[in-house]
């Protein structure tokens, strides 16, 4: 709390802390500007002599496994979020750590969810010093109110891989929840009661952590194949009764929104792809699993069918809707980063062209290329967009930190990035003069589709030109903002924020693009 940081302006004009949790930070320098040199990080060399020749690495319980890893004060413990709001493992890890009696840990999840609210008690007790990872819901609110001792660090999925790979974050102990595993530590997300599809978010953890623990509730005889996580990275295997709540891990069925306004937005986004000619044979796109995205996929597949067009690949978040397209032949491949429903899991298990990807293949900015730049169009959401097309996904207009970055920053690198957002939501303006927190620079955001029209970034003269003859409602972003302000009742007041920085927002290259301040108002 008494950190001795100063504030420094970065290339985006944002004030960021010079020191984060004791380490010197690097300010954001612009897109593609910061290029570190040197070698990647690496885990310690292991020897087979130290591991059982019969391959059986099962230990009694989590506490035993953590003790055996040599858990100490100040260590970094990682978990993944493929179980979303149905995860039992992260809470169990910190309960075990509390029993052991360590303190000042850093929790490094690939994302957190409301189900992780029990961690708040460990933050209060000082066992967990801070979180580096998304903070959704209650944890975000707790952090926003200044409850966390250290500073939070938010990264994109790709940024997390990059940080581990570059050695910015050293994972002492990785705990990987695995729907199915063998005693050697081979694991996958395809089988078992808690099947979640894939385990890509745990890839970096398995490769780079000093110690790796696999936790499963479905231990099968060797070999657990396919091995999305390779047992050769794994130190210990723990069996728990239940590692998650299957109903919250994936939904039985993902549903399209019923809101007519969202339908309108989704349809306009699909029409935009059609009318600009982005939708053509062999194209590709990425859309999430939110209600608007699903409606978008539904409209787009209709247009594709009408025009006789097929995609080469779709990047998912896979759902029943993408699987239907794969099965119908509207796309050759699904390149899947996380599976959202049962049909997605089944398809990943059974369909040869439903491929699992990871933050390494798709999003790692410090790699030799990434899939994200090859996608023709990405359809994304946001909590705020400003008149310079800058986007925010982590805080709301009241300054409260409530969401993680997810793959959002990474997907901005697609050839055409489209934000589908309402101009306001329950009297909360979404299109604003300046984003509360800068998460994505406007240079990378090409189009904003709202219920009141479509704004194209003036930088994209090509797109402006290609919709000249369509009947899409193209408007300036300022016009959209003015109309929203008029309905909501004028320019909103600014939230009351204090000076203390409670979290830093990283850009995809490890530099700091913005900081989140403590909320002092109501």
């Amino acid at each position: 709390m008494n950190e001795d940081y100063k504030l420094k302006k970065n290339a985006a004009g944002r004030l960021i802390p010079t020191i984060i949790n004791g380490k010197i930070s690097i300010p954001y320098q612009g897109i593609g500007k910061y290029k570190p040199t040197g070698k990647k990080a690496a885990p310690p060399i292991a020897s087979c002599a130290d591991y059982p020749a019969n391959g059986n690495k099962v230990v009694k319980d989590l506490k035993t496994a953590l003790t055996e890893t040599g858990i100490k004060d100040g260590m970094t413990i990682s978990t993944h979020h493929h179980f979303r709001n149905g995860d039992y493992v992260a809470n169990a890890v910190f309960e075990a750590a509390a029993e052991i009696g360590v303190k000042n840990l850093c929790w490094f999840p690939s994302a957190s969810f409301p189900c992780h609210a029990p961690i708040i008690e460990h933050l209060k007790s000082g066992m967990v010093h801070h979180i580096e990872g998304s903070m959704n819901g209650p944890l975000g609110e707790f952090a926003s109110r200044g409850g966390m001792k250290g500073m939070g660090v938010l990264r994109s999925h790709g940024g997390r891989y990059q940080a581990v790979q570059d050695g910015e974050v050293h994972i002492d102990i990785a705990v990987i929840a695995a729907p199915t595993a063998d005693s050697f530590g081979n694991a996958n997300g395809l089988l078992g009661e808690s099947a979640c599809g894939l385990l890509g978010f745990a890839l970096a953890d398995s490769q780079y952590a000093d110690k790796v623990i696999v936790v499963t509730d479905n231990l099968i005889d060797f070999p657990c194949h396919p091995w999305q996580i390779q047992g050769n990275h794994v130190d210990y295997v723990v069996v728990m009764d239940k590692i998650g709540d299957p109903e919250k891990i994936v939904s039985g069925t993902t549903r399209i929104t019923k809101s007519p306004d969202r339908h309108r937005i989704a349809r306009m986004a699909a029409q935009f792809l059609r009318d600009t000619g982005i939708m053509r044979n062999g194209f590709s796109f990425q859309a999430g699993a939110g209600g608007t995205s699903l409606a978008f996929v539904d409209y787009l597949s209709g247009y594709m069918r009408e025009a006789g067009v097929t995609a080469r690949f779709i990047r998912g978040g896979s759902t029943k809707f993408l699987v239907d397209m794969l099965e119908e032949g509207l796309t050759d491949y699904i390149l899947d980063g996380q599976t959202f429903d049962l049909k997605g899991v089944q398809s990943m298990r059974e369909h040869p062209n439903h491929a699992d990807t990871s933050p390494f293949t798709s999003y790692n900015y410090h790699g030799k290329g990434m899939f994200a730049t090859m996608v023709d169009a990405a359809i994304l959401g946001a909590t705020e967009v400003d008149i310079n097309f800058n986007g925010n996904v982590v805080t709301h207009s009241d300054g409260m930190l409530l969401h993680g970055i997810g793959g959002w920053q990474n997907t901005l690198f697609s050839k055409c990035t489209i934000l589908t957002v309402p101009t306001f939501r329950n009297r909360i303006p979404i299109i604003v003069d300046e984003v509360t927190t800068l998460v994505g620079p406007g240079e990378l955001i090409d189009v904003v589709v709202t219920e009141r029209g479509i704004a194209i970034n003036p930088r994209r003269k090509d797109l402006l030109c290609s919709v000249k003859d369509s009947n899409l409602p193209i408007r300036s972003i300022e016009e959209l903002k003015e109309e929203a302000d008029e309905i909501c009742g004028g320019k909103p007041q600014k939230p009351k924020l204090g000076d203390r920085i409670i979290a830093a927002i990283k850009w995809v290259d490890g530099t700091v693009i913005d900081a989140v301040k403590i909320v002092e108002g109501p």
């Binding site: 007519p260 306004d261 339908h263 309108r264 207009s397 009241d398 300054g399 329950n426 009297r427 909360i428 303006p429 219920e451 009141r452 009947n471 309905i487 909501c488 009742g489 004028g490 909103p492 007041q493 939230p495 009351k496 108002g521 109501p522």
Partner: protein, 403 residues
């Protein structure tokens, strides 16, 4: 001391608010506000509350507001309602500024393919209704509003008429039956209401009463524009009287039917096929056409069944209807598509319109196409078809030049 409430305290209502007001003799304005948008609009909300209470001459009160993001026009309407519930003798109205986006006109012969019902006491549905491009929106004060909320709905609908941009949709209000309907008319007529729907209409007298009352209000408020009427037939007697109703006033522009009440009245149930209402619907089309007004079909209640809606709309079209009610924005486009003229219809209509223009040019009294004589109603229908084809984008505006 006098107390009043609007909304149910403790119950969350999107973009709306609950208010409890307790008048006092001393102590000034004691405002207890909790708002979902406090951070962004707290000051603005407080300012509205103080301004409006002072407008109504209230100086001492304890007022509790639970706000869930009510837009200013909603908050203003709720405040007015709670004040008038505590002090029923207050006559004056606290009117939000009339937006210039609410001043556009309607016309007698405009298309009325779709009219979207908006429950009069639910602000949530109003704000974006016009974006979905219905030909008309209906702010409903009748069946969708609970009897004890009529006053609240009236104030809200009035404010919506002054503030909400309905994007050129015809601005309609469905009033209650008399005598309550009289209060409704006084409240909405001065705010650029284009059309009044008269519920459960059974005789020309009902139309006359509404017409007279509107005339009186127009005079009092110096309103010149026409205010159209659309009587709703909802009973066996209404069907019998359909022609006299449709021709009761020159302000009647359309006649429509409500089948829930009608089928109950004739002692049966409404079915999807609608055979039980075949006579009523046919009679209605006939009466409306005889009186020279638009026959408009009832609503389709299964919002999720787009295919079913398409079928019944095509059937309505074939029976002679030119419009249909909607209870959800998703129904609008399906209905517009179903009412859009087919290619065949357009081609035929074009030929007839061309023949008519040709005849006019040569001062011929008879229009003929090939060896066939074309009667005036056919010409008129063809002109409508061409107009609709242009509106639905199935025909270029300059089609004559492009041939």
């Amino acid at each position: 001391m006098k107390k009043a409430t609007v909304g149910t305290l403790g119950e969350e209502k999107r973009v709306d608010c609950n208010i409890h007001l307790e008048l006092k003799n001393t102590g000034g304005i004691n405002l207890d506000l909790s708002s979902k948008v406090e951070v962004m609009y707290g000051n603005s909300i407080r300012e509205i509350v103080h301004r409006e209470l002072s407008f109504f001459g209230i100086e001492n009160t304890k007022i509790v507001i639970e706000d869930y993001g009510a837009y200013p026009f909603v908050l203003q309407a709720r405040l007015e309602t709670v004040v008038k519930r505590a002090l029923p003798d207050i006559g004056k109205e606290f009117l939000p500024e009339f937006s210039e986006k609410c001043l556009y006109k309607s016309s007698r012969d405009r298309f009325r393919r779709t009219r979207l019902y908006l429950p009069g006491n639910s602000p949530n549905f109003m704000i974006n209704a016009g974006l979905h491009k219905p030909d008309g929106i209906i702010l409903d004060l009748e069946d969708s509003v609970a009897p004890f909320e009529k006053d609240a709905a009236r104030a809200l609908v009035r404010n919506a008429l002054r503030v909400v941009n309905f994007h050129n949709a015809e601005r309609m209000v469905r009033i209650n039956q008399f005598p309550m309907g009289l209060l409704d008319l006084e409240c909405v007529i001065p705010h650029n209401t284009h059309l009044i729907l008269i519920p459960k209409c059974e005789s020309k007298e009902t139309v006359h009463k509404v017409d007279e009352k509107i005339k009186e209000i127009k005079k009092k408020n110096n309103i010149e524009q026409e205010i159209f009427l659309m009587p709703i037939i909802e009973s066996a007697l209404g069907v019998i009287s359909a022609y006299e109703i449709a021709s009761a006033s020159p302000n009647v522009v359309a006649l429509t039917i409500g089948l829930e009440d009608y089928t109950a009245d004739i002692g049966t149930h409404r079915t999807k096929e609608g055979r039980e209402s075949f006579l009523a619907r046919g009679s209605l089309v006939n009466a409306a056409r005889a009186a020279g007004v638009q026959p408009i079909d009832t609503v389709f209640t299964d919002v999720d069944d787009a295919e079913g809606l398409r079928e019944v709309t095509l059937e309505a079209k074939s029976l002679g209807f030119v419009g249909k009610g909607c209870i959800h924005p998703r129904q609008i486009e399906v209905i517009h598509e179903a009412f859009a003229p087919t290619e065949e219809e357009i081609e035929k209509a074009k030929k007839i319109v061309r023949a008519f223009e040709e005849a006019k040019l040569h001062n011929l009294s008879v229009v003929s196409l090939g060896s066939k004589m074309i009667d005036p109603p056919v010409v008129k229908r063809s002109e409508q078809t061409v107009k609709l084809a242009i509106k639905t984008g199935n025909l270029d505006e300059n089609w004559r030049d492009n041939e």
